[in-house]
């Protein structure tokens, strides 16, 4: 008898707990729920601005696909998924500061959204977790050297942003086993190749060797750092990854970078860029146009140092870009001077590249502006 009472007591307690958990869950669709909440919103209106201040700030209406952007604005920070251990792209340095090319884009979006480049919460993601994190809403934006592919765009339910870095897969091999940078796959007959799992490189590797009819043995690791360590210890004859990774990680991790050769062979196209979850259209717009703004600013010669001088420019292209004229920003739910903020606080595309990637000896190459023979090209701001 006493046992039964205890059992019922425990059950009752458990059901209360369960009910409490259930209360926080989103209501099933189709069932009308009234939520009463008092929200106090403090809106600071600055008298001086960069232009277009006559119009009273009207909070942008939440349009379809704009829920996520609205949630970010309410939260006050952007949650950005980055690499974490990849120097030059996404790296948490020993001092606890986030650095890298991909990281700077997160700062650029935060600058555009909140006029504060530090309003970002970074989350380090592994290659396997990154898309799941985006799908489940754990991060708002993924900026983690991810290749834009058909499957990821279509099947995984993602929307990729503009390409921020045009990369290509390459192979690095020990200098004593290949004749030189001009070596081909045939020189790697029977080689052991280290590769990271869950990457497009893993697939390209199989495709390329199969097409060339060359036999090899892949050694697959969960983390890029483990793959590099095993390669450095001599487990593999070669390692494959994006050229940018081989150049940066090779210098940062390998015992003696001079003993290794990165082959000229380009094994694939790897357009790297940010991604958001499908359905977050407004957020995708923001991500796109901030990156385009940074490219456009470089084309116009606007840098973080001289952007204030351009505010008085007579050039309508410059005036529209910086929000002095027109209302481009408000069309996508942002402040009109969002590009001005980005350039002022983070810099243009070229500055970000020089700061993060030039120290590793990466040349602009195809990531130069279209006017210099590269692929970086922004649609017009009008």
């Amino acid at each position: 008898m006493r046992k039964t009472t205890t059992l019922i007591g425990v059950l009752a307690l458990a059901s209360i707990l369960l009910a409490a958990c259930g209360g926080a869950a989103p209501a099933p669709t189709g069932e009308p729920v009234t939520i009463k909440e008092t929200v106090i919103v403090t809106v600071e209106v600055t008298a001086e601005g960069t232009g277009g201040t006559e119009a009273t700030p009207v909070p942008p209406p939440v349009v379809a696909g704009g829920e996520r952007l609205q949630a970010i604005m309410d939260r006050g920070t952007l949650i950005c998924g980055v690499h974490g251990t990849f120097q030059g792209f996404g790296f948490l340095d020993p001092a606890g500061a986030w650095t890298g090319f991909d990281v700077e884009f997160c700062r650029a979006w935060a600058a555009a959204l909140f006029n504060d480049a530090d309003a970002v919460e970074f989350q380090a993601l592994s290659a396997q977790d990154r898309f799941t994190a985006l799908q489940s809403g754990q991060v708002d934006v993924l900026s983690r050297n991810s290749t834009w592919t058909f499957t990821r765009d279509g099947e995984l339910g993602l929307t990729f942003g503009p390409v921020t870095f045009y990369d290509g897969q390459a192979i690095m091999a020990r200098a004593d086993i290949v004749p030189g940078p001009a070596a081909g796959l045939a020189d790697l007959e029977g080689a052991n190749v280290c590769v990271q799992s869950g990457t497009t490189t893993e697939l390209n590797l199989a495709d390329q060797f199969r097409a060339a009819g060359v036999s090899y043995e892949p050694v697959v690791f969960a983390e890029q750092s483990e793959a590099f360590q095993a390669y450095d210890e001599g487990r593999c004859d070669a390692i494959t990854s994006d050229r940018s990774q081989l150049a940066t990680q090779g210098q940062a991790v390998l015992a003696n970078f001079a003993d290794h050769v990165i082959l000229d062979l380009v094994m694939s196209k790897e357009p790297l860029g940010p991604a958001v979850a499908q359905g977050d259209d407004r957020l995708a717009d923001m991500v796109h146009w901030v990156v385009y703004g940074m490219i456009q600013a470089e084309e116009l010669g606007i840098t973080s140092a001289n952007v204030d001088e351009f505010l008085t420019s007579e050039d309508p292209v410059v005036r529209r870009l910086l929000g002095v004229e027109g209302e481009l920003g408000s069309k996508i739910g942002l402040s009109n001077d969002f590009i001005y903020r980005t350039i002022k606080l983070v810099g243009n595309y070229g500055e970000v590249f020089e700061r993060n990637l030039a120290p590793f000896g990466l040349a602009r190459g195809q990531n130069d502006l279209w006017t210099n023979g590269g692929l970086m090209y922004a649609p017009p701001f009008r």
Binding site: T132, Q135, L156, G198, D207, R210, P218
Partner: protein, 388 residues
């Protein structure tokens, strides 16, 4: 007869409690299901196993069944499952030897032996397995010499950081005719077992220990006679030799497999050692003294008196160590061995089918574990004390 109100009826209350519990379980499951399906629908994702037939287009380093990049995802997962089974099965057999020897050594009256065993158990049991695997792989195996400077042992066996190369055998056309001798050799094992059992029943004593060598020598003798009778040898020796960047021919143990197997065997062995020690110490001292006074030697005491009784204590916890070994093999992903979990991870990443593949992984490990426990339970019911 006194009629109690139904809310005071113990049986009613017990039944009610169980009904409420089942209802709540169902509610919780329903909530989880609804949550997943709402979120999937919001993302426009569908759940299904169609992807399993699509080409995988990634390569796998080592495989015991034929596989190439153009095979399906389903085949790739199967390769991973077989790799897991191989390393688990070998690991379970080897760790039993290591554990039993270490457990007996722990109780040895020899000071050095018992202290070495105690140190082994103390160190290995109290450090995380993943650290040990990293140590064996990066710290020991990858520090072996490169292929060109391979350590050559007689055999020839080559020790390199690319793996351990052993001479192997390859079947020739004459192999089919030789198969009959393999069957005869296997049958001879059963015959020996039957004879020994008959002796035991007839004389109430097992045959002398050295008779047991018949298990080894008789099959070898039969196979050798068959080998000599064939017009051409049914097996051809394959010697590993340096070709290009690596050795070719013969058997090869990859560094990843070796590190994983070694790490699992050493780690689980330390737990089994403690189980064996506890099992032996559970036998009362009087049993040993009685055996001694009957004139049994130490080895006979161990084999005939202590072990049969200790097994009853040892088998149930041993089963959970076997299950742990199989499940711990999923740490292989850290050192690059393509086990089930590692390959399933790649598949998840290439297809985005997270839920489906996780279900496959869970069902695979679950059925492996259930099968192992089933075998161990059958064995356990045979050795346990028969109560009358």
């Amino acid at each position: 007869m006194q009629i109690t109100a139904f809310w005071r009826n113990v049986r009613f209350l017990q039944a009610l409690g169980q009904v409420v519990f089942v209802l709540m379980l169902a509610l919780a499951a329903g909530f989880l299901y609804a949550n997943v399906s709402t979120n999937l629908a919001r993302q426009g994702l569908t759940v299904g196993y169609d992807f399993l037939t699509n080409p995988a287009s990634f390569d796998i380093g080592e495989s015991y069944i034929s596989y190439e990049a153009s095979n399906s995802y389903g085949r790739a997962i199967l390769v991973g499952l077989v790799n897991t089974l191989v390393v688990s099965a070998l690991g379970i057999v080897l760790t039993t030897f290591v554990g039993v020897i270490a457990g007996i050594a722990r109780l040895s009256s020899n000071w050095l032996i018992s202290r070495i065993a105690a140190a082994y158990v103390g160190v290995i049991r109290n450090t995380p397995l993943i650290i040990q695997l990293m140590f064996w792989y990066f710290g020991i195996i990858l520090q072996l010499p490169a292929v060109k400077e391979a350590v050559a042992l007689p055999g020839p066996i080559f020790l390199t950081r690319r793996g351990l190369y052993l001479p192997g055998f390859e079947a020739t056309p004459a192999f089919d005719a030789w198969k009959i001798y393999i069957w005869v050799a296997l049958a001879s094992l059963i015959v020996i077992w039957l004879i020994f059992r008959w002796i035991q029943n007839r004389y109430d004593l097992p045959p002398p220990l050295w008779w047991y060598s018949a298990y080894l020598f008789l099959p070898i003798l039969i196979l050798w006679v068959g080998f000599m009778l064939q017009p051409e040898p049914p097996l051809k020796e394959m010697i590993p030799e340096l070709a290009g960047l690596n050795f070719r021919g013969g058997l090869r143990l990859t560094p990843e497999f070796a590190a994983l197997l070694f790490g699992l065997v050493v780690y689980t062995g330390s737990f089994i050692a403690e189980i064996v020690r506890a099992g032996i110490q559970a036998i009362s001292r009087g049993q040993v003294e009685a055996a001694r006074s009957l004139g049994l030697t130490t080895a006979q005491t161990l084999r005939l008196i202590i072990f049969p009784q200790a097994l009853r204590v040892i088998i149930p916890p041993m089963t959970s160590q076997y299950l742990n070994l199989a499940k711990n093999s999923s740490l292989a992903i850290a050192i690059g061995y393509p086990d089930l979990f590692s390959i399933a991870n790649t598949v998840i990443n290439q297809t985005g089918a997270v839920i489906e593949v996780i279900v496959i992984i869970m069902l695979s490990y679950l059925s492996m574990s259930l099968f192992t426990s089933l075998l161990m339970n059958i064995y356990n019911s045979r050795v346990r004390l028969v109560e009358r």
